[in-house]
């Protein structure tokens, strides 16, 4: 188990960052926040690139920084690698030489360049000049280069933000593949919850230089739903139900994939790519895409109907002008979030513990990767 | 770590090379180093041929402005003998106890000449100040000082105030007139002789004599050779040669020891 303990603060003229949080780095840990929330600052501090921090950062048993002991390990000695938003490849070197640069300075050298080139699908570009690459290719080189340092922790700072959609999904699935093959703990910073929802196991949420939530990805996103309901003006996220469900069938014969939710089923359009039965699929349904019926719909084009009970009805306590509520419905033990108008809520006289049916189209079940 | 130690190493080794190259230069036997005023250099070069034939002494000429050479000697320049274009700097070195006792000698008396490139000059031309007139800086150059005294003697100094172009030394003044940048000026007669130009020699009674002196620098290795050169330059035969290069007769100096009375009077009427 990899533990990263963060207890430090730092400040610039108009920005104060303060964190006291221990992260359990299994798989990919997401760091979510809007711009100016201190996401990059956090990564840079862990990497050792921020000079003016006060406090301590401890990675497993290794103290990276402890200002009380006047200790600050140099970034190049931390065995932590950071992939920047803007790649930062060395323009005087080819792709292969960029990778060699990292491999040469790596002390354990378990990986070889050919394997990493293959893993990151860069074999054809190995001898290309880095200035000729597309943004997506550059980020793949940057990732490959970071991997070749064989870090104990990989930090990704908005690695997809400069890419087009196709490159984004390609790199994202690559990141998942890399994490699984090398079992490397990754801290992934992004302002896009969709990206994080797709790949992260845990999520840390930053707001205005402070950590406001940390935990399992689905749980944390659901916490954000409540926060959004209370503070609609903040526009934190699109409220959603974040799911990870086993695949019952990749294609039911009519172009739909079937997911198992205990005794119930969720259908979604079949996805390209190879899946195996019972593999868990990460997906989400926007709260605004789900509607509520009091009786089970029989004659509807909408394919997904789930039966459940209302668990909570949240509305904004601060913003009286908001005419909507967030309803939590438990279906087969799973929380679902439904965003409806106050008008509809009153029309159906929805109340807690009431049994309801949720309905949503197959296309409302979204995945970011495929 | 290795590279960080390498860097100062390169620095030190290059400095070492530098001092070694200096050391190697000092190991060879030094020729007699003559610091000579720029306007006497061409004459000296001609004279040194005979000197070498007579004495077999190797010499090295360091030519420069009298003032700059003075400053350098003051700060330890490795010169054996200093052949100045004036008498002030040699006197100064003597006062500062930097020269061999009694080595200060007048080796030449400079003569001033009026030069104009576009017409045949006459002394009477001086009475009418031209638009521009070149002289050396009277405050720093001996020939400039003599030029000022000449104009004062003729009572023309005030009239010339707005026409004067002053060169930092007599060579610059000569270059200005010769290139016709300035139509006429007072230059050294030796410059006319060397460059085979015609001009009018200013009578030496118009100004204090321009005594050019030499001194032998103390505490040097080549003092004996320096003395030989001094004797050589002051020998009657060489003195005659120097005169033939446009300098006044040195014997004249002995007669005219008394300062010029007329200069101090500052007469107002010109009488060339």
């Amino acid at each position: 188990m990899t533990i990263l303990s963060l207890d430090f603060s730092l400040s610039y003229q108009a920005f104060n960052f303060k964190i006291n949080q221990t992260l359990n780095l299994t798989g990919i840990t997401g760091v979510f926040g809007h711009s100016g929330s201190g996401k990059s600052t956090l990564l840079r501090a862990i990497a050792g690139l921020e000079k003016n921090i006060t406090g301590a950062i401890i990675f497993n048993d290794k103290t990276l920084t402890d200002t009380t002991k006047n200790l600050c390990q140099k970034p190049e000695q931390r065995n932590i690698s950071l992939v920047f938003q803007d790649s930062r490849l060395f323009t005087h070197l080819t792709v292969r030489d960029n990778l060699k640069y990292a491999a040469k300075r790596c002390t354990n050298s378990q990986l070889n360049i050919a394997d990493i080139l293959k893993l990151t699908e860069l074999e054809a570009l190995a001898d290309a000049n880095v200035v000729e690459l597309s943004s997506g290719q550059k980020q793949r080189v940057a990732l490959a280069r970071a991997l070749l340092t064989e870090p104990k922790l990989l930090l990704l700072d908005e690695p997809l933000s400069a890419l087009d959609q196709a490159s984004k999904t390609k790199l994202l699935s690559l990141i998942v593949k890399v994490q699984q093959q090398l079992s490397l703990p990754i801290l992934y910073v992004s302002h896009s919850l969709d990206e994080l929802q797709q790949v992260c196991d845990n999520l840390l949420i930053l707001s205005q230089g402070k950590a406001i939530n940390y935990g399992n990805i689905h749980y944390t996103i659901h916490q954000l739903n409540f926060m959004s309901a209370h503070l609609p003006s903040e526009r934190l996220i699109h409220q959603q139900t974040s799911l990870s469900l086993p695949i019952a069938s990749t294609d039911n014969g009519q172009g739909l994939m079937v997911l198992t939710l205990a005794e119930q089923k969720i259908l979604l359009p079949s996805l390209p790519g190879t899946f195996i039965k019972n593999q868990h699929l990460r997906c989400f349904i926007l709260a605004s895409d789900i509607s509520i019926c009091l009786s089970e719909p029989q004659n509807s084009t909408i394919v997904n109907h789930l039966s459940g009970n209302i668990n909570a009805i949240e509305s904004s306590t601060t913003d009286k002008a908001t005419h909507s509520v967030l309803i939590t419905v438990i279906c087969s033990g799973q929380e679902f979030f439904v965003h409806i108008s106050t008008f509809s809520q009153q029309k159906l006289a929805l109340c807690i513990n009431q049994q309801v049916y949720l309905q949503f189209k197959a296309g409302a079940v979204r995945t970011y990767l495929y | 770590m290795l590279l960080s130690t390498l860097y100062p190493l390169i620095l030190i080794s290059s400095l070492l090379c530098m001092s070694l190259s200096v050391a190697s230069n000092h190991n060879i036997e030094q020729p007699l180093r003559i610091a000579v005023a720029a306007n006497f250099t061409p004459v000296l070069k001609k004279l040194l041929i005979e000197f070498h034939q007579q004495t077999n002494i190797n010499t090295q000429i360091i030519s420069g402005a009298t003032g700059a050479l003075f400053l350098q000697i003051k700060h330890g320049a490795p010169f054996d003998i200093y052949i100045a274009a004036d008498s002030i700097r040699p006197q100064r070195l003597e006062q500062q106890n930097l020269i061999l006792t009694d080595s200060r000698k007048t080796y030449a008396i400079g003569q001033l000449a009026l030069l104009s490139m576009n017409k045949k000059s006459r002394l009477s031309d001086l009475a009418r100040p031209p638009k521009y007139f070149a002289i050396a800086n009277p405050d720093i150059a001996p020939y400039g000082k003599a030029a000022k005294q000449t104009l004062q003697y003729l009572g023309l100094w005030q009239q010339y105030q707005h026409s004067l172009i002053t060169g930092i030394n007599i060579n610059q003044t000569f270059a200005q007139v010769r290139s016709q940048a300035v139509s006429s000026g007072l230059v050294a007669n030796s410059q006319l002789v060397l460059n085979k130009l015609d001009g009018v020699v200013i009578p030496s009674s118009y100004h204090h004599p321009i005594q050019q002196q030499l001194v032998i620098i103390k505490n040097r290795d080549n003092i004996a050779q320096a003395k030989r050169l001094s004797q050589f330059l002051l020998s009657p035969k060489i003195q005659q040669t120097i005169v033939s290069f446009g300098y006044a007769n040195n014997a004249l100096l002995l007669q005219e020891k008394a300062p010029h009375k007329k200069v101090q009077q500052e007469k107002s009427n010109a009488k060339p």
């Binding site: 990497a47 050792g48 690139l49 140099k74 970034p75 190049e76 065995n79 690698s81 950071l82 920047f84 930062r88 490849l89 060395f90 323009t91 005087h92 640069y101 990292a102 300075r105 790596c106 200035v131 280069r145 970071a146 340092t149 | 590279l3 960080s4 860097y7 390169i10 620095l11 290059s14 400095l15 090379c17 530098m18 001092s19 190259s21 200096v22 050391a23 230069n25 180093r33 720029a38 250099t41 061409p42 070069k45 090295q60 000429i61 360091i62 030519s63 420069g64 700059a68 400053l71 350098q72 003051k74 700060h75 330890g76 320049a77 490795p78 010169f79 060579n171 270059a175 060397l194 460059n195």
Partner: protein
């Protein structure tokens, strides 16, 4: 060219080459320091470095002459360390040239380092490269053109230097008489023919050197655009 002028040429080239090497060794860390410095004292150091650009060479030469002379401390320290007098030696003109040509090396390098910024260096650190390693493997290759420019300007400026060397060199053949001073001597001695030969060869040499610098910089400019 007669042999005294060839000797002056040899001294000039030796002086300029050594000066350039020393300038790169001193100027690189200085330029780096200035590029990374944020303190308000930066402007003061920058002004001191730029001083030779505006200071009359004779002023610098005059003060160096005083400093180097055996009567004063720097000259005495040198004499004790090396056993040689500093003033009027080859070392003196090299030191004088280093000071006089300093801005020509420091300024292009400082600008290059500033333009390079911290981002690629941070990338280097993330790949396990220490500061010296980063300098030689990232900074140096990426600012190569500026190093060539700095070295060439430093070299050319040193070759063309006159005032400082006139003061501290003493015009000693084979040791401190350089081309520019030999040229001056020829003019002073009305030997215009020799002066022309020297002047034209200096002119052509400098032209070739500078054209070479711009030629070397050419492909870099193209790829940047």
């Amino acid at each position: 060219m007669p042999s005294p002028d060839l000797l002056a040429l040899a001294v000039t080239l030796k002086m300029a080459a050594l000066t350039t090497v020393i300038l790169l060794l001193i100027g690189t860390p200085l330029a780096w320091f200035l590029a990374k410095m944020t303190s308000r004292f930066k402007v003061i150091i920058e002004a001191i470095v730029a001083l030779p650009l505006v200071l009359p060479p004779t002023v610098l030469g005059f003060y160096l002459l005083i400093a180097f002379s055996p009567q004063h401390l720097p000259g005495q320290i040198w004499q004790q360390a090396t056993g040689q007098q500093l003033a009027f030696s080859f070392s003196a003109i090299v030191i004088g040239s280093v000071l006089y040509s300093l801005p020509f090396v420091v300024q292009p390098l400082q600008k290059a380092f500033e333009q390079l910024g911290d981002s690629v260096l941070e990338a280097g650190a993330m790949l396990g490269a220490g500061p010296i390693d980063r300098f030689f493997t990232i900074v140096l290759p990426l600012t190569k053109a500026s190093f060539i420019t700095a070295a060439s300007l430093g070299f050319a400026h040193t070759v063309g230097e006159f005032g400082v060397i006139l003061m501290i060199g003493g015009n000693i053949p084979g040791e401190t008489r350089v081309l520019s001073i030999a040229l001056f001597d020829h003019v002073e001695a009305f030997d215009y023919a020799k002066a022309h030969v020297l002047a034209i060869s200096l002119l052509i040499g400098s032209m070739i050197l500078l054209a070479g610098v711009y030629l070397l910089n050419l492909p870099h400019r193209k790829t940047r655009k």
